[in-house]
């Protein structure tokens, strides 16, 4: 990094971040070779692949599909379950020497409590939990929890009771009243909201003349969704006082800057890492130069500035 990296540091939702770039859930493998300092330049924190109480095999058939400036996925929360995570994932995550969040699937109230209790059993080893009420790729639970303010409140309340560390809640852009869901999360004690997850979409396989995915729908991510995600971040930042983490299509420092100007305190980066390992460093560098050029003291000066300028309302 060039410039003064300390200007990039902040504490977001209970987590000290050396950079506002967080690796989003479900994209970074538990490969020890990738959790080293030289592979994580510019990364403030990482979110793990979703963890559920019991192992999940995930979905059958095609799981990823390219789209214009983006991709669809229907992974379906494949993971070895929380016990497997504790045994095999956690040591890898710990090796990175920077904070991480365990992305926990909101299953039934009982399941999530049990899962969080297991994590809580090693509270000192786990910096934070990211409660995932937004996975579009499973039936029954997943995204359903995040669809209304009420169910979001219920989910967050359960999680809050079972986990006393930093708790981020990852919302779904499919929620008709996203601001309401965010407020509910805040009211029930979330330390931050992540806004958001993938966008419900689909693809058709022209060779087979049928939907590409067995579940028909899948989640859209990547640069294509950035303008949509930015709009949701703007909305949610206007609705809550806890930090908002912008997520969806961030693929450049400019995207990250736009998210911060809209009010996000940090960004999560997912699919764009599939095309560029070095993106977090580039984002951190770019933000540093941008704030410096704008004569802004530190990162926090950027957060919400776009809204302030808009509300200032000078004529353009």
């Amino acid at each position: 990094m060039t410039g003064r990296p300390d200007l990039m540091a902040s504490t977001v939702g209970g987590l000290p971040l050396s950079s506002p770039v967080v690796i989003a859930s479900g994209v970074w493998p538990y490969d020890p070779a990738l959790w080293t300092a030289d592979r994580l330049e510019g990364v403030g924190a990482l979110s793990t692949k979703a963890v559920s109480l019991a192992p999940r095999a995930g979905n059958l058939g095609t799981r990823v599909w390219e789209t214009p400036c983006g991709m669809l996925n229907s992974i379906g929360l494949q993971n070895g379950g929380v016990r497997d995570f504790m045994e095999r994932g956690l040591p890898v995550a710990e090796s990175a020497g920077r904070p991480f969040l365990v992305n926990v699937v909101m299953e039934s109230e009982g399941e999530v409590s049990e899962c969080l209790a297991i994590l809580g059993g090693q509270r000192e080893r786990i910096p934070a939990v990211e409660l995932n009420v937004s996975c579009p790729n499973v039936d029954g639970d997943g995204m359903a929890w995040g669809m209304t303010a009420r169910s979001t409140a219920k989910a967050v309340a359960v999680a809050r009771r079972s986990w006393d560390g930093p708790l981020w809640v990852k919302l779904t852009p499919q929620a008709p009243d996203l601001a309401g869901a965010a407020r509910a999360a805040e009211a029930e004690g979330a330390d931050a909201v992540v806004c958001g997850n993938t966008w419900l979409a689909m693809a058709m396989d022209l060779q087979k003349r049928r939907p590409a995915f067995q579940r028909v729908v899948a989640g859209l991510s990547g640069p294509a969704v950035f303008p949509l995600a930015l709009r949701t971040v703007w909305e949610v930042c206007g609705a809550v006082s806890i930090p908002v983490i912008g997520c969806g299509g961030v693929a450049s420092w400019e995207d990250a800057a736009a998210m911060l100007l809209a009010g996000a305190s940090a960004v999560e980066v997912g699919s764009a890492l599939f095309t560029d390992f070095d993106l977090p460093r580039k984002i951190a560098d770019g933000l540093m130069k941008y704030t410096a050029a704008a004569g802004i003291e530190s990162l926090s000066g950027l957060v919400g500035l776009g809204r302030k300028n808009h509300e200032g309302g000078e004529r353009r």
Binding site: R63, I75, F277
Partner: protein, 265 residues
């Protein structure tokens, strides 16, 4: 071999050789890949600086030399079209080397006495590379099967490199008329293996042909991929030990561990 996670590199196209209307050999200068890749490993290649196409395209390493490596690219859609029309001098982005190659796919098990190599179409690429690295293992049959017309370039390219190549084509225009598997021996003695790469149909036929010898058949598989680093779980394959990632646990598996019936066609 110690595991190394893939990295992203710029790679200059040193040569772009159009072998036939649809097949191109790209020679890329990229020390980061050339210094470490083993047969069966592949790269994720991207052209241009835009986000459309978004994802890298997996292509097997077909050869190495000094700071360069070669891929054989068959044009099937927009990504391969873009890649194969990248002129010499231009730069591509490479993620690699990715995956677990032929050697590593059966860690600990010594190499067999004899290996037969069977490629279907551009699936020949990783086998060409494997052939150059076989050392102390006898090479049995080396077979390339293609559809026929439209595959002149690849067959010529392979033929120049492998004097003993058995060539089959379905339409009979190149080599003998028939399928690649026609060139294989009747049975597969214990000390022999078959390494294969090609269309799913060919690989399935192979498993039908040697039902009792699946542990000695190594197949390099394909799957749709997003990350090429083991992270997205988009490329998984059902195996006897659960879902495994084609990109990092594979692409080379033994035919025995693959649950062929659960794999989507």
């Amino acid at each position: 071999m110690t595991h190394r996670a893939p990295r992203d590199f710029p790679a200059e196209v040193v040569e772009n050789l159009r072998l036939d209307g649809k097949t191109t050999a790209l020679v890329l200068r990229c020390p980061g890949v050339a210094s470490t890749a083993e047969p069966g490993q592949f790269v994720m290649l991207r052209a241009g600086t835009g986000n459309d196409p978004f994802l890298g395209r997996p292509l097997a390493v077909a050869d190495l030399s000094g700071d360069r490596f070669t891929v054989l690219c068959r044009t099937v859609g927009r990504g391969t079209e873009l890649l194969s029309s990248t002129p010499a001098g231009a730069e591509l982005t490479v993620r690699g080397p990715v995956g677990t190659g032929f050697w590593s796919a059966r860690r600990g098990v010594p190499l067999p006495k004899t290996v037969h190599l069977v490629g279907g179409g551009v699936g020949m690429a990783p086998l060409l590379f494997a052939l150059r690295r076989l050392d102390g293992t006898a090479v049995g049959r080396v077979i390339l099967g293609v559809a026929g017309q439209g595959w002149e370039g690849l067959t010529r390219w392979a033929g120049e490199r492998i004097p003993s190549l058995d060539l089959y084509s379905q339409d009979g225009t190149l080599g003998r008329r028939g399928l690649a598997l026609d060139g294989l021996p009747e049975g597969l003695p214990d000390e022999e293996e078959i390494w294969a790469c090609g269309p799913e149909g060919m690989l399935r036929a192979l498993t039908k042909r040697y039902p009792g010898d699946l542990g000695r058949i190594r197949v390099a598989l394909e799957s749709r991929m997003a990350c090429g680093m083991g992270g997205c779980l988009g490329c998984v394959l059902p195996t006897t030990s659960g879902n495994r990632r084609v990109c990092s646990d594979g692409p080379v598996f033994t035919a025995e561990e693959v649950l062929w019936d659960d794999r989507s066609a």
